[in-house]
Symmetry: C2
């Protein structure tokens, strides 16, 4: 145990908030914590939402207009959060990031993290999701190469 | 989305740091983050270490002196961290908590959380542990009823 190192504060400089299109309650607390931390430590904040394959059923996936509708819905949610975040961390907010593809956690680990380079990921607890697969936050807590907080 | 609520800061008032007897590197970063947050927000800090069944092999478990040795080792580690924490968050630090029993994550969920009532758990990433079972932090991220950060 290096006692000198222990005295060094540890804070995050690039915070990535993940937003779930279907879980406003869980998003709200995660948003508040990410914004509080970004504000108080002058960190850069990114907000990301990923359209999940699971969110599109097989019938909808054959209908381009349905996919567009879901994509637009998600885009709108992310932009609303980005807009609210800018009121508090105006200097630092980055544009909302949007991705789509396979599993959300894989997309975040393989595409979003290398691109945004966060040192902390803030996720809600996905109150509605199956406890067997686990929420995106808990899956990221296991897989991501950076710190992850699951906010409840 | 309630825009008034979104503007409210969210910070933690009771932070529980979990310490692993065998992983100083992982402990150090988790300690630094927990202490930084507790210092900056005036939160109460608890430090807990749980002796895991896995840490005691079947032969040692038959030898009371071996168990005592491991328990003393863990106790010493927790006290060292508590001592370092007190230098920074002197007003708020609570005594080191020690538990033992089944799986660490179950002991924390069933005994430590109801006792200390944290609103945030800070865990290291357990660099040495099996990725299949997952670290204590990732297991807590899934199971605990409060926010959990896995520090990497």
């Amino acid at each position: 145990m290096d006692q000198n190192t222990l005295q060094d504060p540890l804070y995050y400089k690039r915070i990535l908030l993940t937003v779930d299109g279907d879980d406003p309650k869980s998003n709200t607390r995660a948003f508040r914590f990410a914004v509080t931390l970004a504000h108080d430590y002058g960190a850069e904040l990114g907000i990301v939402s990923v359209m999940e394959n699971d969110d599109i059923n097989i019938f909808d996936s054959l209908t381009p207009s349905k996919i567009k509708e879901k994509r637009d819905h998600l885009k709108q949610i992310v932009e609303l959060y980005a807009h609210e975040a800018e009121k508090i961390v105006s200097k630092y907010v980055v544009d909302a990031l949007e991705f789509e593809g396979g599993d959300v956690d894989d997309v975040i680990v393989e595409q979003v993290i290398p691109s945004f380079k966060p040192d902390l990921i803030v996720s809600g607890s996905d109150t509605q999701r199956s406890t067997i697969v686990g929420s995106i936050g808990t899956r990221l807590a296991k897989k991501a190469p950076v710190s992850v907080i699951v906010v409840r």
